[in-house]
Amino acid sequence: ILGGRTSRPGRWPWQCSLQSEPSGHICGCVLIARKWVLTVAHCFEGRENADVWKVVFGINNLDHPSTFTQTRLVKTIILHPRYSRAVVDYDISIVELSEEISETSYVRPVCLPHKGQLLEPDTYCSITGWGHMGNKMPFKLQEGEVRIISLEQCQSYFDMKTITTRMICAGYESGTVDSCMGDSGGPLVCEQPQGQWTLFGLTSWGSICFSKVLGPGVYSNVSYFIEWIERQIYIHTFLLN
């Protein structure tokens, strides 16, 4: 996260770290139910086998797991069938854990939006992750506040890519606060009037965050995929035989 700040334990209890040896942390991810996590499909490029992954919850400093930390293995990886590596569209995947997590104050699921629920431009939301900070990779979870940008305005920043309805743009023209490499798969969450936090985006791509080119970050639009997410969870929970 560029231009953010160090978070404190328990502030983002749905944030998880998707890890694979020997690298350790590879991507962010988001807890949406006791056995289910969302992340982006591009995190699994070259590592499609569930056996090489583990998911760590309730952690703030990657180097110092705490008593609140829970680790699970991965049972199933479900990539969106239309995920396109070339244009990074439909960049979403669902991960089934080997067993349920225990819900605590430090490990809790985030809410999902309704199908097609839209975010108004200029809404402020939060991004979190252990990705690049522009000058270093952090150990402690970083958080930043970003502003939702309309798709039309976003398209003007990215000549070479087509911004689709499967994407949400957030950040600033100057790129001051932005997600970066290593944040992929992490949450873009917005606080709802009733005080509940809802997951609207998954960090997906953007300009080279610590290069001269600035501009917003691009997130997978979770409310576009709600029906697909619920269906996959239903199929893998109830239609086993």
Partner: protein, 374 residues
């Protein structure tokens, strides 16, 4: 592999298995970078001249956005060709040697286009020092020069009638980008060999029509995809299955869509509402005889909701025929869904149906982030 090791594309090394043949160790790899898929060669070798170790890294690099945008300015006829010779350098499959661009090609590109970048405050990519490339030689083997047939635009561009290149994302975007406006001509879907959504006029590639994922606002691209018999129903993947197999507890559609959304609560989920099962795609009420709380939990969980907070039985007033009752030995069926534990066509002695209220799963709260008084 003569010395029992392979150089993989990242320049690391790994031990070959014994039957690896020489050509498996070739460092040439097919070009997959969309930007450079129309070159007069098909194999490349990494790392490239910009330090990228893989094509994936090259595809998200700053240069892979910079050059196609720069090509639009028409600053140099062979700029795109030069860009591809450094993004995906040619690899001679016979010798596994990387073939660089000739120095003069690099110098011409830089001379004519660097100043254009300067206008917008950008610099020519640092790693492209032309002196690293060899002088052009007569045999044309040691370095690359563009042939007469080389394409000036990349596959990521649209070629204007005037010959200029504009980014494909600007084709039919409502703004004229070509100097002759040709990028805004023939924009009908059919003229571009695309499929048109009847209501929104949105253009879709034929590959997404009838693929089970709606793309038109009114889902018209997923309509009229198959023609089932009267006693059949259409799966999401447009396969036809017998109506009797719908919500019978066995997935008969290849995508299992005949077993989706089989258990619902009648509309208003916030007050008690009737448990409904869509057996054979017909709404059935559930008879309360023999009902147990564990079945209420399964029903709520199957609908993606929390624990059941209210389970009631409600007398059915009129003469009702569409009952579903519990299978006589449902407990030994170890079914994973509620609807496979129910059978139809029998009477309901109590003539009472299930009314159910499920709580919502708790989410989105962060108790540990509580404000602590100081």
């Amino acid at each position: 592999c003569l010395y029992n090791s392979c150089l993989d594309s990242c320049g690391g090394s790994s031990f070959c298995d014994p039957n690896t043949s020489l050509n498996n160790c070739s460092q040439c790899e097919p070009i997959t970078l969309e930007l450079c898929m129309n070159l007069p060669y098909n194999y490349t070798q990494y790392p490239n001249y910009l330090g990228h170790r893989t094509q994936n890294e090259a595809s998200i690099s700053w240069e892979s956005s910079l050059f196609p945008a720069l090509v639009q300015t028409n600053c140099y006829k062979y700029l795109m060709f030069f860009a591809c010779t450094i993004l995906v350098p040619k690899c001679d499959v016979n010798t596994s040697q990387r073939i660089p661009p000739c120095r003069v090609l690099c110098e011409h590109s830089k001379e004519r286009c660097e100043s254009v970048l300067g206008i917008v405050g950008l610099q020519w990519p640092e790693d492209t020092d032309c002196n690293q490339f060899p002088e052009e030689s007569s045999d044309n083997e040691t370095c690359l020069m563009p042939g007469e047939d080389v394409e000036e635009c990349s596959p990521s561009h649209f070629k204007c009638r005037s010959g200029r290149c504009v980014l494909a994302s600007r084709r039919c975007d409502g703004q004229a980008d070509c100097d002759d406006d040709s990028d805004e001509e023939n924009c009908g879907c059919k003229e571009r060999d695309l499929w048109e959504c009847p209501s929104s006029k949105q253009c879709l590639t034929h590959s997404v029509i009838c693929d089970g994922f709606p793309d038109c606002p009114d889902d018209m691209d997923e309509k009229n995809c198959s023609f089932c018999q009267d006693d059949e129903l259409e799966c999401v993947n447009h396969q036809c299955v017998s109506r009797d197999q719908w919500c019978d507890g066995q997935a008969d559609c290849l995508d299992s869509s005949d077993e989706w959304n089989c258990v619902t609560l009648s509309k208003n989920v916030n007050s008690s509402s009737f448990l409904t099962v869509h057996r054979s795609a017909v709404e059935h009420q559930v008879c309360v005889d023999g009902w147990q709380e564990t079945l209420s939990q399964l029903a709520c969980k199957q609908m993606g909701l929390g624990e059941p907070s209210v389970t009631e039985s409600v007398q059915e007033q009129e003469q009702y025929l569409q009952w579903l009752v519990l299978h006589s030995n449902w407990e030994s069926l170890n079914g994973t869904t509620l609807h496979e534990l129910l059978v139809k066509g029998q009477s309901c002695p109590s003539r009472s149906k299930i009314s159910l209220l499920c709580s919502k799963l708790d989410c989105g709260r962060r108790p540990a982030a509580r404000m602590n008084k100081r």
